[in-house]
Symmetry: C2
Subunit: 356 residues, 2 copies
DNA sequence: AAAAGTTGTTGACACGCTTTAGTAACGCGC
DNA sequence: GCGCGTTACTAAAGCGTGTCAACAACTTTT
């Protein structure tokens, strides 16, 4: 045979993987033809017979295309990079899952790189840059940049060399498109749920009032109350650390402040960890959930919400959806389509369990 | 210039990335020399002057090596693949973190592929194979295969084409090396902790008695008791579903079965979710933790253990360590070193919090 | 019967890099 | 002035694939 190229050693002689040349030789055609068949090039007319013979050879030899070589030759990689500190934050790992699944559907490959620094300015600053650099060395066609909690971020400038989409955060410099949860709608939905259940006096256990999550969710709570002709009583809003202890203390303060008949009948906890603490405060006082006090959370940290007793009704952060949407947005960008908006809001669905 | 190759268009003309050729031209040397410098080839004598000039050119032009091309030419990829259903199981994501960090240290790249199927035999079976296939197309030099819970698995046969290491699971066919938690030592450590605290009557809330985790942890509990001249009272071992509800029911059964003075003074819960349920059962009966009943868990599901009130003392599953060890083992294998053991056990450290 | 398609296939270059086998220039000992 | 070793570099052959221009063998049109 020895048709293609000066030297055509067989796979066995080379002791490397089976290459396209081996397939071509085995099927008695040129390598080009094999390439056309494997890539379904409709412009090339390959006879059904030849195609079949090639497919058979592929399977017989166990040929597996070399993704790197393909990328090199075609100048397309089908790879996206995902940079995230999420690797350290278990509960937000669903971004990875959503992105992975969508990438899989789109026949793309997701390269995940760690950037272990929430707000590092010090020694770790370099790691994020290095991670992005590494991804660019792999010639990813686009970047996803995900944060563990909704906030503004500064993205290393090398990320601007390819299409980049931010997930669960937004570009503090206002250049890059982003995908964030619709905190406000989520807050509205939560409080509406409490209103529907008949609650009129609702306590709010707030996060650090500065962060986007707190601002949005509280705004949503106001929206809901306004819809029922009510106002948010500032006295009923207590801030605390975003932990179970913080929630416990805040709940104690609210519960102990009023006589029984003026006490709020429901608590909107701006995250599930605080709700967890609120549960303790409520139970400690001999009150029942949801009988005496209804509780609604936010975040849907499954390990908490689904295992509290009673199970916690909460508003979910749509990590998985955001991940998937991130990949789709990136696909649109790399395909040259202009995206519709700088910032896409994703719905936060209410998960009904048993605490309201 | 135009020294290298027949055509030597500049980067600007090509409108592609900067290549090694561009660097070579800019520095006035051959591409080979650039390659030698960038790879620190000590066999080649490059003058300090030339080296410096090349480094400068690299920075000036913003050259970034093409990882795919490099892999193609050198027949080495520096990539490992990690196959895992873990992407769906947030609490075990630390395997990814451990592996990522270690890979980063070793200057290797970890490609993560999803295999969304715990025990699928049906429609999803193909996904795992496809994931491995995809990784092999990327020419990964080795594979890590991680499970969400300790068990025997059947690994697709294509995984046998490259060095493969199992994490948190073992090869049911007994061929591949694996890394698993030392459940037995963990169980021992937990019960020893209770013994040290003076407890003699210890209730055990057991998992499904069949699974490796239950077998090992219980065995360890027996070891510890034997060390104190005690035996495990089978009556005090109650199995339940591995959930908070399961733990609640099991705890109720144990607590209600005995008069106050015969009641166990401590509960060893074989996982944290069950401990969470046990907390409720204990508090419901007006008992305090650890005053009346000490509780110790297993798994260290941080979102639970660190946020329960009081915080849960528990034995940690060393996911991060296993991930790191997996990468190191793989590195040894791919370097041709024989590994020492088929199955490596990793310690499960006791995390002291406030429930004992 | 010549010209103009059509169908099925291939040769050859390109992608960006590594690596082996060189070579030119120089200094050294005899 | 010759051989020999050293130093500092380079030419060229790959790695496995995509892709385009070209071509041979037919079929159809003029």
């Amino acid at each position: 045979m020895a048709k293609n190229g000066p030297i055509t050693k067989s796979a066995a002689v080379r002791d490397r993987g089976v290459t396209m040349n081996d397939v071509a030789n085995h099927a008695g055609v040129s390598r080009t033809t094999v390439s056309f068949v494997l890539n379904n090039r409709s412009t090339a007319n390959i006879s059904e017979e030849t195609r079949k013979r090639i497919i058979e050879s592929v399977q017989e030899l166990g040929y597996r295309p070399n993704a790197g070589a393909r990328a090199l030759a075609s100048q397309r990689s089908d790879w996206y990079g995902l940079v995230t500190e999420i690797v350290t934050a278990p509960f937000a790992v669903n971004v990875i899952k959503g992105a992975q699944d969508q990438a899989w559907l789109d026949r793309r490959f997701l390269l995940i790189a760690p950037s272990d620094q929430a707000d590092a300015v010090g020694p770790n600053q370099g790691m994020e840059d290095a991670a992005i650099e590494k991804l660019l060395e792999q010639r990813v066609e686009g970047l996803l940049y995900a944060a563990t909690f909704h906030r503004g971020v500064h993205v290393p400038k090398s990320a601007h060399e390819v299409p980049t989409v931010l997930i669960n955060c937004f570009d503090a410099d206002g250049k890059l498109p982003s995908i964030v949860p619709d905190e406000r709608a989520g807050g509205r939905v939560a409080v509406e749920r409490l209103l529907v259940a008949g609650h009129r006096r609702i306590g709010v256990i707030n996060l650090d009032p500065q962060i986007p999550a707190a601002v949005g969710r509280l705004e949503g709570a106001r929206d809901a109350l306004a819809g029922a002709g009510l106002e948010l009583d500032p006295e009923l809003v207590v801030s605390g650390y975003a932990t179970a202890d913080g929630g416990y203390e805040a709940a104690c303060e609210i519960l102990d402040r009023y006589p029984k008949d003026e006490r709020p009948t429901a608590l909107f906890c701006l995250n599930d960890r605080m709700a967890m603490g609120a549960y303790d405060a409520i139970k400690e006082r001999g009150l029942t959930i949801p009988g005496d006090i209804a509780v609604i959370g936010f975040d849907n940290q499954e390990l908490i919400a689904a295992y509290l007793r009673p199970k916690l009704t909460t508003v979910a952060l749509p990590f998985e959806k955001m991940g998937a949407l991130g990949v789709r947005t990136l696909a649109a960008l790399t395909a040259g389509q202009p995206i519709t908006a700088d910032q896409q809001l994703v719905d936060c669905p209410l998960l009904e369990r048993s605490s309201v």
